[in-house]
């Protein structure tokens, strides 16, 4: 029994890492501009589509570079066409605006790049690795693609952490996150910072899209991972990078364990037509957490002023 549970846990944690990667994009934007960017999923799709289609004509590295440029251009377009006009609006209005952006990007991405399944050939090994075969019958399964994704994600987080702590831009970013007006008054150009942060989260989307795409193929459904990242954010807190990571791991592991362990029990008890509880389980987990600790695991406490 322990073997399968451990295996599910490992599998869940690795899926969780990929959720974290998407959630990270959300956090970056929220931290700097207070925008809850629902379009992050559409950005992942868009980035992955660009990369996949470009890599049909050119070496992957070059395709990656071009995709980075495309994501920066996209960030600029979003800043210039949308955000700039919605400064000082309520969070909820900005959120709905990003819903619009998401829809637009989904249509635009497919118009530009097509709606088939596309490959991103990273040349990753696909056959499973089994460890601890002496301890558990059949060993514990590890998916090498996910393992590599986990490592890349870890590197990504490290780089971002360094970026925020050490560089001048990073410090400015943190200042903006703390207080928009104060930051502006000491001469930090808000628009540039926002542009910057959208570009960075575009880059994160590209990496996330690359990893998901390498695993499952690049297709329209990629944009749906935005829906997977939401509970992660709630759990981890909207403003915390470590929160996004830990939240992703908890949600990933929690939902897979629930599906494998809890669903069969539910099916038997209530005579259900199959399981598939992971979809809502992640949300309910996050929601339960939210009621206990509204600011999330690592989020900052929100104090309301009159």
């Amino acid at each position: 029994m322990l073997g399968p549970v451990l295996e599910t846990l490992i599998g869940g944690l690795m899926t969780g890492v990929l959720y974290s990667l998407v959630a990270l994009g959300f956090v970056l934007i929220f931290k700097a501009s207070g925008v809850f960017n629902f379009a992050q999923g559409a950005m992942v799709l868009f980035a992955a589509l660009s990369l996949a289609r470009l890599s049909e004509f050119m070496p992957l590295v070059l395709a990656f570079a071009f995709s980075v440029l495309i994501m920066i251009a996209l960030a600029y377009a979003i800043e210039f066409l949308v955000l700039r006009h919605l400064v000082n609006q309520e969070g909820i209005i900005l959120f709905m605006a990003t819903l619009g952006i998401a829809y637009f990007l989904e249509g635009f991405g497919q118009t530009l790049w097509g709606s088939d399944i596309y490959k991103i050939g990273l040349g990753l090994p696909t056959n499973p690795i089994f460890i601890l075969e002496s301890v558990f019958p059949g060993g514990l399964l590890i998916d090498p693609v996910e393992l590599i994704a986990a490592i890349i994600c870890a590197v990504m987080v490290l780089v971002l952490a360094v970026f925020f702590q050490v560089t001048r831009v990073g410090r400015a970013l943190r200042a903006v996150a703390d207080d928009h007006q104060a930051a502006q008054s000491v001469g930090i150009p808000l628009n540039q910072i926002w542009l910057m942060v959208w570009a960075v989260s575009g880059l994160v989307a590209l990496v996330a899209g690359m990893m998901w795409g390498a695993k499952l193929g690049v297709q329209f459904s990629l944009s749906l991972i935005a829906l997977k990242a939401l509970p992660v954010l709630i759990l981890g807190g909207l403003t915390s990078i470590p929160g996004a990571i830990v939240g992703g791991l908890i949600i990933g592991a929690g939902e897979k364990l629930a599906e494998v362990l809890l669903a069969p029990v539910l099916i038997r008890t209530f005579d259900l037509a199959g399981g598939g509880i992971e979809n809502w389980f992640a949300y309910v987990l996050a929601l339960a957490f939210l009621l206990v600790r509204p600011q999330g695991l690592f989020g900052e406490r929100i104090i309301e002023r009159v």
Binding site: Y103, T111, I234, G276
Partner: protein
């Protein structure tokens, strides 16, 4: 000149508290309802009924529901699809298990069940706000979708999970033609709209708006957030539940939980953003917009005689909705309804430029 209220003096608060205090409004609403119920059947064909009028009316009810919650009370919900499903399956089960039940009661029951579920899922709104609440409502969306796909009792053990309704009749008159269906839906829409209009301009509506505009100040004048938010959730879910039952019974006839998935929630939300947050008129305009745009886009290439692939039309639909939402949020947060009001303002002065 055409839209002048000058000279209309109200001599009592009673008159000023009438549902449409301005004579032109009153008359245009009466004319509109008369036209919709008596005029339209003179010329409408089946296509106009089933593809335009009936869906617009039913979705308007859902939009009014969400508008009460989001537009009036300021609580963002992405769970409309789930509540519509509650209405649909509640109605299905009542009609199935008590086949003699009057169809009006079936739809009322659908609304009440959705209201109870809405109250339950509205409880977190007391502690959480904004997009946190939006995510919480998504939880209800996914859970409800799942429950209707999995709990066999809801679908009467249908092996495919798809359910269908039989003949629908009202007081012995079968509602079997598009024309009759339309009149039936129209009647329900008019009643529910007038009731919503009454609610939003009375004490309860002011409570909702107060919570929306500034919940702290609302509490200080004696509005209990619990009361206001839960009543908004209840009324909103009732409307959405009725809309769900109507959609299932009179539009789809046969459905599966996917008919009420998260895209339906987004669709209803888009209606109120484009139509206008916090206006009832906007609910209708938004629903009409969302229904008509795809039809229009499908016709457009043949009208223009240009080539456009099916995929392209679909993509344009996505882009157009996305762009419209952003555009409206930037330029006119009160949506089409506000544009209408501006138009009216202009008409009031026309033909004089000032």
């Amino acid at each position: 000149m055409f839209y002048r209220e000058v000279g209309q003096f109200k001599t009592s608060y009673d008159a000023d508290e009438a549902i449409f205090p301005i004579a032109q409004d009153r008359w245009s609403v009466i004319v509109l309802i008369a036209f919709a119920s008596l005029g339209v059947p003179l010329f409408a064909g089946q296509y106009l009924y089933t593809e335009v009028l009936i869906p617009v009316l039913i979705l308007s009810i859902a939009a009014i529901g969400l508008n009460i919650l989001t537009g009036y009370c300021g609580q963002l919900s992405l769970g409309s699809g789930g509540f519509m499903a509650v209405g649909a399956y509640a109605a299905y089960n009542l009609a199935l298990r008590l086949p003699e039940t009057n169809i009006i009661l079936v739809f009322l029951f659908a609304g009440v069940m959705a209201m109870l579920v809405g109250l339950l899922f509205g409880l977190p709104s007391l502690r959480i706000k904004g997009f946190y609440l939006a995510v919480a409502t998504l939880a209800s969306q996914f859970f409800l979708e799942w429950a209707f796909a999995r709990v066999k009792w809801f679908t009467n053990y249908a092996p495919s999970g798809s359910v269908a309704v039989g003949r629908i009749e009202l007081f012995g008159i079968p509602i079997d033609t598009p024309g009759k269906t339309y009149i039936f839906v129209l009647a329900i829409t008019v009643v529910l709209t007038l009731a919503a209009k009454n609610l939003v301009r009375g004490r309860i509506g002011r409570m909702w708006m107060a919570i929306r505009d500034m919940d702290i100040a609302a509490e200080i004048i004696g509005i209990r957030p619990l009361h206001a938010k839960l009543s908004a959730f209840a009324v909103s879910s009732f409307y959405i539940g009725v809309a769900g039952a109507l959609w299932a019974f009179l539009r789809l006839g046969s459905w599966e939980p996917l008919a009420f998935d998260v895209n339906r929630s987004f669709q209803v939300l888009f209606m109120i953003i484009i139509g206008g947050l916090g206006t009832l008129l906007g609910s209708f305009l938004g629903a009409a917009f969302i229904v008509l745009v795809p039809i229009f886009l499908n016709q457009l290439p043949s009208w223009l005689g240009i080539a456009m692939s099916t995929a392209m039309i679909s993509h344009i639909e996505f882009m157009l909705f996305g762009a419209m939402i952003v555009l409206f949020l930037i330029a006119e947060p009160h949506g089409l309804a506000r544009l209408w009001a501006i138009g009216k303002e202009k008409l009031r002065l026309w033909p004089f430029p000032y």
